[in-house]
Symmetry: C2
Subunit: 237 residues, 2 copies
């Protein structure tokens, strides 16, 4: 049989297939703490529960998995996050009562300000402090995904400046350090952090300064290659 004949006879619905969704754990930093974007479900299963933004692929408009998850995020936040990365894919026969189900989960970061207005204007999406999220029941296995995303981001705080994407630009160096400290759950030596930042050469000094109690702090932006830069040595916290 030639490939042409095979395709002519091919029936996409002949084989039973699995439920496939994309989801995103979108973090930001606000009020001195990490927050994650959750959406209140308007459909079964888990109707009324809070869960991760995401959903099914739309074959009409989504060219790829990443386009699909970005579309889902954009529907809620009206913007595209400056950082997104595939986290993992979770699939088994137990996670959804409808049957064998698979989710491709992403981790994303963005500033609180970038979408504050949009989020405040809708009732079904909300930034949740990470500590609070651990206390409430979530849809599906989304709690597990959030924990895993957080662990990965904590690791990144040790050897990259990726957490900076959770801030709105321009930001001060102590602000960036504090995001890392919140992720690690421990204080970082300011001197060590500054040394690393300087050596990495990932921050653009805007020349501006911000003052709020104490000596004014320099304001920086992230260079575009921050997402892929890795330090050779981890912080030892």
């Amino acid at each position: 049989m030639t490939e042409a004949e095979y395709l002519a006879n091919y029936d996409p619905k002949a084989f039973k297939s699995q439920l496939l969704t994309v989801d995103a754990v979108l973090f930001t930093y606000h009020d001195q703490q990490l927050k994650v974007l959750l959406v209140q479900r308007s459909n079964h299963p888990f109707l009324g529960f809070w869960g991760l933004p995401g959903g099914f692929i739309d074959e009409h408009c989504d060219q790829s998995l990443e386009e699909a998850v970005l579309r889902k995020l954009q529907e809620k936040t009206a913007v595209v996050p400056p950082y997104i990365e595939q986290l993992c894919t979770l699939g088994n026969r137990h996670r959804d009562v409808r049957g064998w189900s698979v989710t491709v989960c992403y981790t994303a970061l963005m500033s609180y300000q970038a979408c504050q207005i949009r989020i405040d204007s809708v009732s079904d999406a909300k930034w949740w402090p990470l500590a609070d999220v651990l206390q409430i029941p979530l849809a599906f296995d989304h709690l597990q995904l959030i924990k895993q995303a957080r662990e990965r981001l904590t690791q990144k705080a040790l050897y990259s400046l990726v957490p900076g994407f959770a801030l709105s630009e321009p930001f001060t160096l102590p602000e960036l350090q504090h995001v890392h400290e919140v992720l690690l759950g421990k204080p970082i030596q300011g001197k060590s952090f500054r040394r690393r930042v300087e050596q990495a050469d990932l921050l653009i000094d805007t020349g501006l300064k911000r003052t709020e109690r104490g000596r004014p702090a320099n304001l920086y932006r992230l260079k575009s290659d921050t997402a892929s830069y890795r330090f050779l040595r981890n912080l030892e916290c």
Copy 2:
């Protein structure tokens, strides 16, 4: 509508769904080089081409994605690899002529000896030297997946002893070092490598020695926590 009513009316075939497969990039180390297991396809599309071992989920026997990919590997090698890790999930509307298609791809490592007999006995599976694989046309986007798996493993050679899972136990320390050197494409200072291995405390000294020209070398096994151990500092190669 209650959830029970929703589920009673739920038709799994009502929504168009995507092709979903699992694939694995299985590496080993043999004849001083890295090899990858490829399978010759017996179906359209890409009939007759070499590609990664993998295939569709079998809802009857697979409880999870990982079980599915392990089953696929076991069908070819007759054994379960000592190391497996999710690599990435690739999904878009162009990678398969049959339509929107998604693969959840894993990276795995195992020793050459563990399945040599089984592989030699079948005609459709074969260990390919990695350099050769880059020269031949592969099915789908499997070349891209192999390259990505190799890059990730190269990174792991800088901050872990995971590449050791490509060896058969017991192995010598210079053998382990050479796997790392092949991955990195550069020689490593023997002293640095030994220091790290000792400090990590991941090798069990079997007390045995192996001699083949020169001073006999100690033989080691990997501790089970080698898969998750990370050095704080990278090799600087």
